[in-house]
Point group: C2
Chain length 244, copies 2
């Protein structure tokens, strides 16, 4: 399983992904699900993936190879994030279709979160469905999740708004991942957090900042502990119902 | 959609169910999903259902009719909760099989939580699957959920143990339902809470106590507000990560 989260905030784009992949509960591996395409000063694109690992690896490898081969229409030649989403969406649909034609009994599908900025444009964030179509984040719906999303959604619903600070957004992402990892063993560390600051100009595209939360990360352990103790205290402080 | 929760605690059995049923988002109705079978002093059985409404209504109606007709093997003639679970499980499987034979394209399946006590026995709690088989709650796994279970599970995972008090269990159930109702519109009020105290004897089976939380219930609103504000304060009090 996988859990990926991306947010489009006033202050920039925030991404988080776990690293556990399983083909059955007895076959668990580590794979990074965050992929960064960077053409310094021109474009920064972050792609998170969930679903069939062979499919998502084929998508990412194709995108990289097309760039290396200077293929027409490769990511680094595109001029808008909308074109990036269309390109990745089409590729996703084609790959899934090709495999499904040969074996309709296996689930080859995947979903992707694609966010970033291209010179001359504002930042954008898209969620790409297995059919290749996609939706875009707006101030009203500033975050998208893919994979094992439900355990960690209530805290996001309460906290994340378009104008939430990047610090609070990352704190909330950690709380959301903590809840998910507690309730689903197939979502696990390391968690990769990425942040693309919004410079509010179409120029001077900054680089993506990244941090990987490993087992025994001090910040993770501190937030987990404070959150757990805080929840326990709030719960204790609430008077229980007395109906009978 | 539906959300039902049942817990087997030292102090007794606690049940909670919502009341919203939907056949498509534009066809929403209210149906109580808690059914109580009571033979005072002899047995108290609580059945919660999720899934296809026609199937679950047919199960409950058949159980009731068999009791009225004094049918051989009806619930009130059974001498163990294990037999109750087997009887309801078999009925569930038969009804789902009969409908599926005629129309394999529709999902007729359902799940049930069945808990209670029969004179001479200790309290028991079962989760019945669409195949008619079932599992029993133990001190290590004291709660079961059916329906839209993920949004409300993290708080239960943190709080509910075999020796949690009934007051805390009900408070936690309300928090769990609140999270679920916020994140999934198809789970909705009223919530029916039921409690069968454990007298620790196989004799003197008490009656099931029930309370229905309607819109504008003072206790619900108070707990919701205190929980929301408490969460916000805990979240604020945690120092954000500083990585960059």
């Amino acid at each position: 399983m996988t859990y990926c989260l991306a947010m489009k905030l006033e202050s920039g784009l925030v991404f988080a992904s776990d690293s556990r992949t399983n083909a059955g509960i007895d076959n668990i591996s580590l794979f990074c699900k965050t992929h960064i395409f960077s053409l310094p000063g021109v474009m920064e694109i972050v792609v998170l993936n969930s679903g069939n690992l062979a499919t998502t690896q084929e998508i990412i490898s194709t995108l990289k190879q097309d760039i290396e081969n200077k293929q027409e229409g490769n990511l680094y030649t595109l001029e808008s994030m909308f074109d990036v989403a269309k390109t990745i969406g089409n590729l996703t649909r084609k790959i899934i279709e090709r495999h499904t034609r040969r074996d309709s009994g296996t689930d080859f599908s995947c979903s992707l979160l694609v966010g970033g900025q291209i010179k001359g444009e504002v930042q954008k964030l898209f969620m790409i469905y297995p059919a290749g179509n996609f939706i875009e984040a707006t101030p009203e719906t500033p975050f998208f999740q893919i994979g094992e999303l439900k355990y960690g959604k209530p805290m996001l619903d309460r906290t994340i708004h378009h104008n939430t600070s990047v610090e609070d957004a990352i704190k909330c992402a950690i709380v959301s991942f903590d809840a998910t990892m507690r309730s689903n063993l197939s979502v696990g560390l390391p968690i990769k957090i990425s942040y693309l600051p919004d410079t509010k100009t179409g120029e001077n595209i900054p680089s993506v900042l990244s941090y990987t939360i490993e087992e025994d990360d001090e910040t993770l352990n501190r937030i987990r502990k404070q959150w757990k103790e805080g929840l326990r205290n709030v719960f204790k402080s609430i008077e229980a119902p007395k109906w009978w």
